[in-house]
């Protein structure tokens, strides 16, 4: 299977197999005007199988969202067919409006405009707590 290299845009590499479509939906890449390719179950020496997303156009991606969903992703920025920047993501220290607090006693349950903010408290076990009520996100 052949997917053409992109000239100007972004490649999300090393996506854990199965997370490609998830990221596509959460990042709302379907709303972009430019071509977007998702390759699933691509061969990877390191990972066995991986997913890749290629975006052929300028786009601002929320790296916190990507880092939360799949902290192993590599972001390659391409300009004139050359990789000009490569970022290895990790779990973000804080995330806003990526996940939602489910504690019915939390202030976020009644203040509709309030962003749902979470803080990383245990990187090893990927534990985030709501900054308002301190409930653990499950």
């Amino acid at each position: 299977m052949l997917v053409n290299p992109i000239k100007n845009g972004t490649v999300l590499d090393h996506i854990s197999a199965g997370n490609g479509m998830k990221l596509y939906k959460i990042l709302r890449l379907n709303e972009l005007e430019c071509p977007v390719a998702i390759i699933t179950n691509a061969y990877s020496q390191k990972m066995g199988k991986k997913d890749i997303i290629k975006i052929d156009g300028a786009v601002a991606l929320d790296l916190d969202v990507i880092g939360y969903i799949d902290p192993g992703v590599t972001i390659n920025k391409i300009e004139d067919s050359v990789v000009v920047e490569r970022k290895h993501l990790s779990l973000p220290d804080t995330i806003s409006d990526v996940i939602h607090c489910k504690n019915p006693r939390c202030i976020t349950s009644i203040e509709q405009e309030l962003p749902h903010k979470f803080k990383l408290i245990d990187r090893e076990n990927k534990v985030y707590r709501c900054i308002y009520c301190e409930s653990k996100f499950k």
């Binding site: 504690n103 006693r105 939390c106 202030i107 976020t108 349950s109 009644i110 203040e111 405009e113 309030l114 707590r129 709501c130 900054i131 308002y132 009520c133 301190e134 409930s135 653990k136």
Partner: protein, 304 residues
């Protein structure tokens, strides 16, 4: 501009400073009678609480200041659907400092993000109640002379009891504290708090369901009420509310200088017959609560 949302917002040194100011207020009340003249405290109580609200109001009056506010959400603009953020932005224009109680956890933190004056968390759901903790700490200091090398038993509702959570948070910063968690299985301390305790070297804890067995080793016994409003299911409340009742006979095995604390209001978890025991310190806590709130109001207003 500082606010007090969680007891952990204060350093150990700041807590010591507040406690020492409190002790000085008790010794020299006249020295503090005009410290807050011309200042206004707003008490925004979205949930009924006679005790805490009156304590804040009495504290401000004894400092020579004034008090405005409301005592239940029904008489505030919250009943018209106004957000906490908007209410606080408005009240910031009227008062120099705000004490807020709210049934939703995190509401005072949201308020502190929007307010232009200091916010004091006067209780948010089952989450935090830092000024009760300061009252507890002043009482422990007055009764025991120290915060370290003590064994503290917490009895009753350890799951929803915000005063328990805040006091445990505060005690984790001192050396040699042993915590004994006495509760029915349904009302045990939340896992995240036990996880945090597990990681600390300066503090140890044990869990038990027996108040009698724990009693002999305790320097402090912190009793709590099983609160009806924290339950979704009334049948669970009725089944558990009488689980742990302190009576004079249960105190026979206790140390002669043990100190019995309770955040109040009491329902029946401490028998009235215990009130005359010299170890009963829960009404002293009420007095200490007013004193420490005086010290806190001055601190947050930057008044020496």
């Amino acid at each position: 501009m500082r606010s007090l949302i969680s007891i952990l917002d204060l350093s150990v040194e700041e807590i010591d400073q507040l406690v020492n100011t409190g002790l000085d207020i008790i010794e020299n009340p006249a020295k503090y009678a005009h410290k807050c003249e011309g200042k206004k405290l707003a008490t925004l109580f979205f949930e009924p609480s006679t005790r805490t609200r009156l304590s804040f109001e009495a504290a401000m009056y004894e400092l020579g200041g004034h008090v405005i506010g409301f005592s239940d959400a029904g008489s505030s603009s919250a009943s018209k659907g106004e957000s906490v953020s908007d209410t606080v932005r408005v009240v910031s224009n009227y008062a120099d400092i705000i004490a807020m109680r709210h049934p939703k956890e995190g509401a005072p933190l949201v308020a502190s993000m929007k307010s232009t004056v200091p916010i004091i968390n006067a209780g948010d759901g089952g989450h935090n109640h830092p000024t009760q903790t300061l009252a507890d700490l002043l009482t422990i200091r007055r009764e025991k002379g120290t915060f370290g090398n003590i064994t503290v038993g917490f009895c009753g509702d350890l799951k929803f009891g915000r005063t328990v959570h805040s006091l445990i948070d505060a005690l984790t910063r001192y050396k040699g504290v042993k915590i004994v968690l006495i509760s029915p299985d349904e009302l045990k301390l939340p896992g995240y708090m036990k996880d945090a305790l597990d990681k600390m070297d300066n503090i140890t804890y044990v869990e038990t369901t027996s108040l009698e067995n724990a009693m002999p080793e305790l320097d402090i016994l912190y009793m709590t009420r099983v609160q009806k409003e924290r339950f979704f299911n009334e049948a669970d409340y009725i089944r558990l509310k009488d689980s742990y009742i302190l009576t004079p006979d249960k105190l026979e095995n206790a140390k002669s200088d043990m100190c019995i604390l309770h955040p109040l209001p009491r329902v029946n978890e401490i028998s009235v017959a215990v009130d005359d025991d010299p170890r009963a310190c829960y009404f002293k806590q009420v007095f200490n609560g007013k004193i420490i709130r005086m010290a806190l109001i001055m601190k947050l207003l930057g008044i020496e």
